[in-house]
């Protein structure tokens, strides 16, 4: 009896240890990522952000002055504190001391000022005794949130060579093809669990899926329309931020009739069908620019198909609606959605034609790169070529008013908020992503042995 009890205790202890070991973080290993993007440079100031994957790669390499928390609030990073002068045209950031670049040199106020000047030439950045001052023209009330963007990652540029300030250092860079990062032992937040990260670039989605299935990659991009299928086939699929899919006119409406036509178009698009059929449920029909989880009022804006109203509004005006619709020719899904919109428009009595050259309106997929709604709205307005929205204060009412004003301009018709997806290998542990698509690879560790 005693013997049996002892064996049971030993067995239970072993099982508990195994279970504990699987859940316990472990150091080591190489995290392998694939992406369809093929950037020619990893300099955050000189490269376009491209995909969310590239943006997150910048975050691995280059720390920002501030980061956003899960609610979109700026939190200290390289800067420990900040303060705006009245008018919010001049900001003072107090820097965290004792930090170094990957080459061992100190991250000084001068270095940060130089990096920010390279990122935004419109700013005047001055090093001060304990930090930097940034002067903006016009006022930038959301400057801290903006500084959390990967584009404002702090980098040291000497003789064409980049030196990273983030958790990883560049160990090998084959432009457009492969990037190898190595975990920095002296990182101020502490060394990451994984030793290194390998990023294979310019991979098609099909090759990425195959690489994932063959365990040749740990994290791959999955197109939204394939996420459901990938999940159905048993793959582990995680979210990776949200994009706004919208129709953006190249100019403002010039007459009430044209505004009516634009309204008819907005009401005649079957967003649900696009979401269910083409995006396989990976989106949310949108009547607003910002998603409901970010603002809480989006449900007030209708996003359902209202073909009757659309036809009625179309009939109310004698204006000729012959628009050309542009789309991202490199994205097959963009073309299919554009074709669907053309069909929907025809149902509503409107004439749309696909065109790749100088279209009247364009189907755009704009990443929501931040969790701070005012900043996102400002960024969306800039992307759509609209004036910078005015915010009376930090309240939701002010945000609502600003967004409603943008929508009333009829320059942009929101269609869907599309969730980006990532395929994750079984050995990737503790993969977390913020709602704005920010990865946290510093929390990731690899379980099991690599083949």
């Amino acid at each position: 009896m005693t013997r049996t009890a002892l064996l049971s205790i030993v067995a239970a202890s072993l099982l508990a240890g195994t279970a504990f070991g699987a859940a316990r973080p472990r150091y080591g290993g190489t995290l392998r990522l694939t992406t369809s993007a093929a950037p020619a440079s990893v300099d955050p100031a000189s490269s376009t952000l491209g995909t969310l994957t590239i943006a997150n790669i910048y975050r691995l390499l280059f720390d920002t002055l501030v980061v956003l928390d899960a609610r979109g609030k700026p939190q200290p990073a390289l800067a420990t504190a900040w303060q705006a002068e009245p008018g919010e045209q001049r900001w003072h950031f107090q820097l965290r001391p004792g930090l170094t670049f990957q080459d061992g040199t100190a991250i000084t106020a001068d270095a940060i000022a130089a990096s920010l000047r390279a990122a935004n030439a419109n700013w005047k950045v001055f090093p001060t005794a304990n930090g930097i001052d940034i002067e903006c023209q016009p006022a930038e009330p959301t400057l801290p949130s903006q500084l959390a963007l990967p584009a404002y990652g702090i980098a040291k540029r000497t003789a064409g060579k980049l030196s990273a300030s983030g958790a990883f250092a560049i160990s090998r860079w084959d432009p457009g093809k492969k990037l190898t990062l190595t975990a920095r032992e002296d990182y101020w937040r502490g060394r990451t669990f994984v030793d290194s990260i390998e990023i294979d670039m310019a991979k098609s989605f099909r090759d990425q899926i195959i690489a994932l299935d063959l365990n040749q990659a740990d994290v791959v991009e999955i197109p939204a329309e394939q996420a459901r299928h990938a999940t159905a086939e048993g793959r582990h699929v995680g979210n990776s931020g949200v994009d706004l899919l919208a129709l953006v006119f190249t100019r403002d409406s010039r007459s009430p009739d044209e505004s009516k036509l634009r309204d008819a178009l907005a009401m005649g698009i079957d967003r649900a069908a696009i979401n269910n059929g083409l995006l396989q449920g990976q989106g949310e029909p949108a009547g607003t620019l910002l998603p409901n989880w970010m603002t809480g009022y989006a449900f007030l804006f209708p996003a359902e198909l209202n073909l009757g109203s659309a036809r009625r509004m179309r009939a109310e005006t004698l204006a000729v609606s012959s628009w050309s619709l542009g789309y991202d020719a490199a994205d097959p899904l963009s073309r299919i959605i554009a074709e669907r919109i053309v069909l929907n428009a025809r149902d509503a009595g409107l004439t749309l034609q696909l065109s790749s050259a100088t279209p009247d309106l364009r189907l755009q997929r704009i990443p929501l790169q931040s969790l701070e709604p005012r900043f996102v709205l400002t960024m969306l307005a800039a992307k759509a070529g609209m004036p910078v929205p005015k915010f009376a204060d930090d309240s939701s009412a002010s945000l609502y008013a600003a967004e409603a004003a943008l929508l009333q301009s009829r320059r942009i018709i929101p269609l869907l908020h599309v969730r980006n997806s990532l395929g994750l290998g079984a050995n990737v542990k503790n993969w977390t992503v913020d709602r704005d698509g920010t990865w946290h690879p510093e929390d990731v560790w690899l379980g099991g042995e690599k083949p």
Partner: protein, 605 residues
């Protein structure tokens, strides 16, 4: 043209016409044969294209059948039988199924005709498929118009019904009829396929494609396409792409109808005529070359044959010329036993006969001449002899009967005898002179001058009856090489004869003129004239129509003219006078040679 050349021309023409006719017949027959073969080839190619097109249709139908019977479609059909099927999960199904069977178009349609999934236009899910009638589905492949975002396209399509449970699922798949489709058709060399998508009224060049894309020059095919659009039946024409016939192309047009018998496309099967035209050209060049070579060879052979045939004839002609020149002993070689040989033998026989005849004639003439000479001599000598006899007899009689008068008679008789003896001597000297006619001593002579001298000589007053002299001299009579004394003598004889012919006076004219290379002088009188018989014998020595004279005058004239290389003729009618015509060659070359010979001999001496 010589007989040889005529014969050569006839030979060459005959052979050339023959060779040319054969070459032309060969060309015409070969052209007909090639055109027939080309038409047969085109028909065979079109039939092959038909089979290839049908095979591709069967291939499309087989692929659609494979999709319709696949597990994925069966599962989908099963899911559609549920109470609230979720169509959205199948939106992307058609694309993967189409890729699995290499189809360009694939649509999955429910029993109500609603598109569940579309490979070619995924955005159309949920819309109705209007271009297909589900009530009568064709079993074979058919042409179908597909509405794409970039416009309508045509596809070789097939449809299959998948019936699982109560609800049917339709699978419509096809391959795009485009340049790739045309390029994939296995066509023989020299053949090409074009396709016209009949997606609008009339003809639009942009809708015409071939295996390489848009047809660069579509306009020449417009009429053919319009004809097929109007008549909807297979048509064939020859397209001239350029002025070079080798670029021609026989294009066969096949109308292709869709499910509802609507003309959706026109297949154009082009058969290049270049190989045929080049082969025909090759044959033509070969025929022309062979014909030309044949003609050249024929001409050469004709020349050789003509020469071979003509040589005996030429020998006969040369021999005839020799005979004509007086060489009657000429003989020709008999080289063959054919008609020409017989002709040569006959010629030789003729010349031999001529020689014999001439000998006989000469003998006869010689006898006749001697007889004439004897008669003349007898006549000439008899006349003086008779007075001599009478004078001698008168002397004898005077001596016997009147011795007193003998002295007087003797004187008279002596003078008479001397006169008659002188007469006899004159007769004998004239005969002697005729026998010793000198050779002409040629020099440059102006015929007009001789005529003027003679005229001047005989215009002197005499006791004759008055004669009206007329001198008609041509302005430009060229100089001739002649002996002026002999000519003067000959002309004087003619003038004397003319004057003798006009005892009662009359008109006498001397006329000079030029006849080609000949210098001519005519002496005409208005005397009694001559009979034709007299004209024939006029130049015979010792023949005379006068009561006096030796009959040697005109013979001497003829001898002089003949020695100068000329000839004399007479024309006369009794009562209408007589005209003598002397024709003399210029003979300047003879004069030049004589002078050269003289100068050479002088130099040597």
């Amino acid at each position: 043209m010589s007989f040889r050349r005529k014969l050569l021309a006839v030979f060459a023409l005959t052979v050339s016409v023959s060779v040319g006719s054969v070459a032309w017949i060969v060309l015409v027959m070969s052209r007909h044969a090639f055109e027939r073969a080309d038409a047969d080839r085109t028909a065979a190619l079109v039939a092959q294209f038909h089979r290839e097109f049908q095979r591709r249709g069967q291939d499309v139908a087989r692929r659609v059948e494979a999709i319709a019977t696949s597990d994925a479609v069966t599962r989908m059909a099963l899911a559609l039988n549920r109470s609230a099927p979720d169509y959205s999960s199948y939106v992307g199904e058609a694309r993967s199924l189409a890729e699995s069977q290499h189809l360009d178009f694939l649509e999955l349609i429910d029993a109500q005709g609603v598109i569940i999934s579309s490979a070619q236009r995924p955005a159309r899910f949920g819309y109705r498929e209007e271009s297909l009638s589900l009530s009568s589905l064709p079993g074979d492949a058919f042409l179908k118009s597909e509405e794409l975002a970039e416009g309508a396209k045509l596809a070789l399509s097939a449809v299959r019904e998948v019936k699982v449970g109560d609800k049917s699922l339709y699978v419509i798949g096809g391959q795009r009829v485009d340049e790739k489709f045309l390029a994939s058709l296995e066509l023989p060399a020299g053949m090409r396929a074009m396709f016209y998508a009949n997606l609008g009224a009339g003809f639009s060049p942009s809708l015409l494609i071939d295996a390489s894309g848009s047809v660069r020059r579509a306009e020449p095919l417009a009429n053919l396409i319009k004809e097929v659009q109007d008549q909807r039946k297979e048509t064939e024409i020859n397209i001239h792409w350029s002025s070079d016939a080798a670029d021609d192309e026989i294009v066969h047009a096949l109308p292709l109808a869709g499910q509802n018998n609507q003309l959706l496309g026109i297949l154009l099967v082009g058969n290049a005529r270049r190989p045929y035209v080049e082969l025909r050209r090759h044959i033509r060049y070969a025929a022309l070359l062979a014909g030309s070579a044949g003609i050249v060879l024929a001409i050469l052979f004709s020349g050789w044959a003509a020469a071979r045939v003509i040589r005996p004839v030429e020998q006969l002609a040369d021999a005839a010329r020799e005979v004509a020149a007086g060489n009657w002993s000429t003989q020709v070689a008999v080289t063959s036993a054919d008609e020409l040989g017989e002709l040569a033998e006959s010629f030789n026989h003729m010349t031999r006969e001529l020689l014999q005849q001439r000998e006989h004639l000469l003998q006869a003439e010689r006898v006749a001449a001697w007889r004439e000479l004897a008669r003349r001599l007898a006549h000439e000598l008899k006349n003086p002899l008779f007075p001599l006899q009478l004078t001698v007899e008168n002397l004898i009689r005077a001596r016997q009967h009147s011795p007193e008068q003998f002295e007087e008679v003797f004187r008279e008789s002596s003078s008479t005898l001397l006169a008659e003896i002188a007469n006899l001597k004159a007769i004998i000297s004239r005969f002697s002179e005729f026998s010793k006619m000198p050779q002409p001593q040629c020099q440059r002579v102006q015929l007009n001058e001789i005529a003027q001298n003679v005229s001047r000589l005989f215009q002197a007053p005499s006791d004759r009856k008055p004669i009206d002299f007329k001198l008609d001299l041509a302005d430009k009579i060229p100089e001739i090489a002649a002996d002026p004394d002999l000519l003067h003598r000959a002309l004087s004889n003619l003038v004397l004869n003319a004057m003798d012919a006009m005892p009662k006076g009359g008109k006498l004219s001397i006329r000079t003129h030029q006849n080609g290379d000949l210098a001519c002088i005519e002496v005409s009188d208005s005397g009694v004239g001559l009979t034709p018989e007299e004209c024939q014998r006029l130049f015979t020595p010792y023949y005379t129509t006068k009561t006096h004279g030796t009959g040697l005058g005109l013979a001497i004239v003829q001898s002089v003219i003949s020695d100068h290389g000329g000839r004399i003729s007479v024309r006369s009618q009794p009562g209408h006078g007589t005209t003598f015509l002397i024709e003399l060659p210029r003979n300047l070359d003879k004069l030049h040679r004589v002078r050269q010979a003289r100068s050479t001999s002088n130099a040597h001496s």
